[in-house]
Symmetry: C2
Subunit: 474 residues, 2 copies
Amino acid sequence: MIIIKEKEYEPKYIQIYQYFKHQITTGKLVAASRLPSTRSLADSMGVSRNTVEAAYQQLCTEGYLTSKAGSGYVVLPFDVSLYNDSALEKEEMVFEEENSNTDDDKRIQFDFMYENMNLDDFPMRAWKKALNEILNSSNVDCFSSYNDRNGEREFRVEIMKYLYFSRGVRCKPEQIVLTSGTISSLSLLCQLFMSEYDSVAVEEPCYNSARAAFKNHKMQIKPIPIEEDGICVSLLKESKAKLLYTTPSHQFPTGKVMGVNKRLHLIQWAEEKDAYLIEDDYDSELRYNSKPIPSMQSLDYKGRVIYINTFSKAFVPSLRMSFMVLPQSLLKRYHKKFSKYNCTVSWIEQKAMQAFMQNGDWSRHLRKICTANKKKHDMLLNVIHQCMKDKIVIHGSHAGLHILLEIKNGMKEKELIRSAEAVGVQVYPVSVHWANPQNYNDNMVLIGYSSLSEEEIKEGIHLLRSAWFDFKVE
Amino acid sequence: MIIIKEKEYEPKYIQIYQYFKHQITTGKLVAASRLPSTRSLADSMGVSRNTVEAAYQQLCTEGYLTSKAGSGYVVLPFDVSLYNDSALEKEEMVFEEENSNTDDDKRIQFDFMYENMNLDDFPMRAWKKALNEILNSSNVDCFSSYNDRNGEREFRVEIMKYLYFSRGVRCKPEQIVLTSGTISSLSLLCQLFMSEYDSVAVEEPCYNSARAAFKNHKMQIKPIPIEEDGICVSLLKESKAKLLYTTPSHQFPTGKVMGVNKRLHLIQWAEEKDAYLIEDDYDSELRYNSKPIPSMQSLDYKGRVIYINTFSKAFVPSLRMSFMVLPQSLLKRYHKKFSKYNCTVSWIEQKAMQAFMQNGDWSRHLRKICTANKKKHDMLLNVIHQCMKDKIVIHGSHAGLHILLEIKNGMKEKELIRSAEAVGVQVYPVSVHWANPQNYNDNMVLIGYSSLSEEEIKEGIHLLRSAWFDFKVE
């Protein structure tokens, strides 16, 4: 018997639908049973025929019933043994918030995180203005569309101009592809190359996220040691790899710069072997005692360098905006492979960044963060030298947003990090960036300074001194 | 001789740097040559020693010089033959906009595109408000960070609630992962499975972009024919695939619904074979003559269904926001594999969507677009029936944002599309969605209606009648 409850939130047809669904899934109504006609059920229940019809239709659509001309609605075969209604119902939904913060997080007072930015350095007012101008513009039709799968063309023209003047990169807008992060760029490149190449050479050490991306695409990793002026070319040649991922202008994490001669030799190697170089130029705007090193792409007239970069370092990571510059020689293959893909970057934010670049806010911002980070960098180095004197060596300074700090107190990485945590300071491991950590002399930590204020940097370093050298808090 | 030009935009040290760089790259200064001391050059040029020092330092950093204690600055070996300065300089930068619109685009008056939305259906005011509230909020610190790599937790809680009430999906927030589009979801899933599985079963026909994504990850495609109630299970079993990509609630492109019994059998198959089902639930909110079909995930208590969905169909594509719901059984593997990846969706837009869901705007919006699209859908069907009577068959109606139109005038797909274009109407091919187009009876076109107004739909269909049946424009 179907009892209609006058519940506002459950229409009558749904109640009828649920009644019969339950009968079928519990085996009470078996295959080939005929349901009452819509007219008779409607009459007996005091509802309209349309209501019953709607319930029966829903059951038909979902595959519980079929309607046969002349014989009305008939139950379809249903395998009750496969349907575990009680198991489904038992599993209860939990809507409460779980507290995912652990106590550990709260103990850290100064976090020398590498990746995040300081919000004070961010031009929030100009950015809001740019976003709202797009939202209010008459040309917002594109908002409801998929749009250009490589990114908005006018935005790519701005990126092209910026890259030319600031990084020496020579390209046309059609060579630029917007992506939602460096990993996304690398994933596309893996897809582009994986039918041909099954391995990739990386610097040793190398940004561990990049290595993870290659591994996840089943690319065999060939770690090639870094020398003073960049990757060891003879070992690269021995590796037989046809693809190299490199950070020539600010090697991650060591901070070394690849010399011009080595750059030219790499391009020659790529030309000879039909290989490609992925140049990750992630933070090369930020040089504090010289002008930025020209990109490797700027030396490449053989079409062998794939240039990738991100707005995460010089702008903000939360935007998820990165890009690649493909050599002309790869465009045809790229477009063939990805003709069905859509752009993965929000349209509004592309247009806002375009406006931001066009009106000069972008270059103003770059100058500002360069100055702000140079100040922090210089201060960091001063405080470290004052505090720790000759018991430390600083590697990879004068650029970017991090340094490596080698500590000569006999502690190994794990102990260095643990004792820093004990005084409320977070510093980061270097070993994770090594493919073979056993090759690495384990006495450094990675220190980022972009997300802390100058005062915080000072206090943090004093605490580190107490953790590593005094063995007591001052 | 270095001649300093008093050009505002080129500092003196850059001019000195460029002079020596040119001397070295053209072979005029060879390896081991000693440069003039900073003091003597500064004196002879009438610039400060710091200026010369800066130029020399830049040349050292880039790998042209080295400084040796006692002997000053010395030129490093440089392979002139690898450096093609003139080739680099010849290639001129083109900053003009190229006109990428072809004349073809302009001839199309009515575009029955499937993918785009109608901006009139979009709650622009509420969305702007949500965005600006986030930008103005005090909690905007996250803006300068990478944040949760699966997406903001509070946003995932909102998605979880919505999925439970509207699609019957039962999950916890930690099972949800935000991505920047369906292809991005599939790319992550390919990376998750590719070390184990080298093939994937797909429906035949199947959304061609999904097939492209699998192919690009070197997954072998096993197309399994569609029957009236969904994929042919016996052929799926024969294929030996361990992964199935399926659109059970609104098969793309046919519009068919997979019956409940077949859904249960698929889950059983997956359980038995240690296989997984990828359920793409892309537009299942939009049902016009019944309530939405419950998701396959809602029947799965074996942890075999990976549920994926997107905000592109029910909201806007330009946001690039999609998500997956992973079964508990895959979480450990997922987190291990992707611990170094970052979320690919803009933080501001995640928070805006969260607010939009929390304040009820999202469910209001869903009701609104369902009503608006039902109206267009009904009108489209009416006009087609009126215009083309029994010379056509409509497939896959009463749901989503597209139909398939079978035209019985003897024309094949290419001819149907070409003759439509000749009267200024764009309709879309179905054959591209077949892995083996030769198995397909080539007399249909795909018609989307979400981006056109009712008036445009009416005019467009009348033009199609003239193209396909009258052979003259009325």
